[in-house]
Symmetry: C2
Subunit: 205 residues, 2 copies
Amino acid sequence: MSRLKLSYFDFNGGRGEVARLAMSLGGVPFEDHRIPVADWPSVRNRTPFHAVPLLEVDGEVITQSNAINRFVGKLANLYPDDPLQAARCDEVMDAVEDVVTRVVATFGIEDESEKRAARETLVEGPMRLYLEKLQEMLVARGGSYFADDRLTVADLKVYVWIRSLRSGILDHVPPDLTDRVAPRLVEHCDRLSGHPGIVAYYDTH
Amino acid sequence: MSRLKLSYFDFNGGRGEVARLAMSLGGVPFEDHRIPVADWPSVRNRTPFHAVPLLEVDGEVITQSNAINRFVGKLANLYPDDPLQAARCDEVMDAVEDVVTRVVATFGIEDESEKRAARETLVEGPMRLYLEKLQEMLVARGGSYFADDRLTVADLKVYVWIRSLRSGILDHVPPDLTDRVAPRLVEHCDRLSGHPGIVAYYDTH
C-alpha cells in the first residue's frame, strides 16, 4: 500500500474535497494535510503549478484535481472499470471543473460592480447551461448516479459543487439557482448528503 | 467494436487533434467529422456545452476533450493500465488543458492592445510556468515520455500544444518561447513529428 498525503486548504469543500471524501468512503488511509488559507501566499510558489490540491504518492507529487480524484477513486472502488462508464465519469468531472474554473476566475476581480457583472453573466450563461446539461445526463443515466449505476467520484464532484452553490457562499450567485434550474441535481445532492458514509465523515470533520 | 464519430473543427490542431491522432496511430476506425469553422455559429448551440470535440460512441455523445482522449487512448493502446502511470498521464493532459483554456479565454478580446496585454501576461506567467514544469516532469520521467515509458495520449497532448505554440499562429506569443524556456519539450515535439505513424498520418491529412 502506497503512503498517501493530500494537501489542500483547511475547509470542507473546493477542489480537494472530492479526494478526501473518496478516500474516507473507501477506507483508504491518507494524511490529510490542511493548509491554513493565511499560509497560502508562502506555500503557493512551492507547488508545481501554484495550485492545490496535491497528492503525494510515496513522496511523488501528483497535481490536477481530477487526475487525483481518478487515482484515489480507483483505490477507493469509486471509479468504473468499463471504459465507456469511465468516460461518462470523466466527462462529468471535467464539465464541473470547467465551470468551476470560470467561477474561480472571478475571485480576483477587485471592483465590486465588475465582479457582480461577471458573476451575473456566468449565472445566466455557463452556470445555467452546465446545470441543465448535467441534470439531463443524470436523468439519461437513470436519475441516481452519473456513471456505472453506482456511486463514483463523478457523483462526489457534482455533490461538492452543488452543495457549495446552494450554500450561498458565492456573492451574486443566487443560492436557489440549482433549485430553479436543475431540481434533479438538488435531489442527487440531498441523497448524497444522507449517504451513511458521508454523514459519518462530516460527523468528525 | 463500437461505431465512433469524432466531431471537431476542420483543421489539424486544437482540442480534437489528440483523439484523431490516437485513433489513427492505434488503427481504431472512426468517422472524422470535420466542422467548417464558418458553420460553427449554427452548430454551437446544438452541442451539449457549446463546445467541441464531441465523440459519439454508438450514437451516445461524450464531451470534454480529455475524457475523449482517455477513452480513445484505451482503445488505441495509448493509455497506461497502471493507476500511478495513468495518473501521470492524466496530470499532464489536464495541465495542458488548463493553460490552453487560459489562452482560449483571450480569443474573444476585441481590443487589440488589451489582447496584447493579456497574452503578454500569460506568456510571462502561466505559459512560462507550465512549460518549465512540464519539462521538469518529462526529465524526471526519463526525458522521452510523460508516462509509462512509452507513447501515450499525454505525449500527443503536449505535442499538439507545443507544435501550435512554435507555429507562431498566436499573436503576441513569441514562436521561440518554448525553445527558450523548455528545450527538452522542443526535442520531444521534434521526436514525435518524426514518429512514423505521425508522419504517415500527416502525409494524408
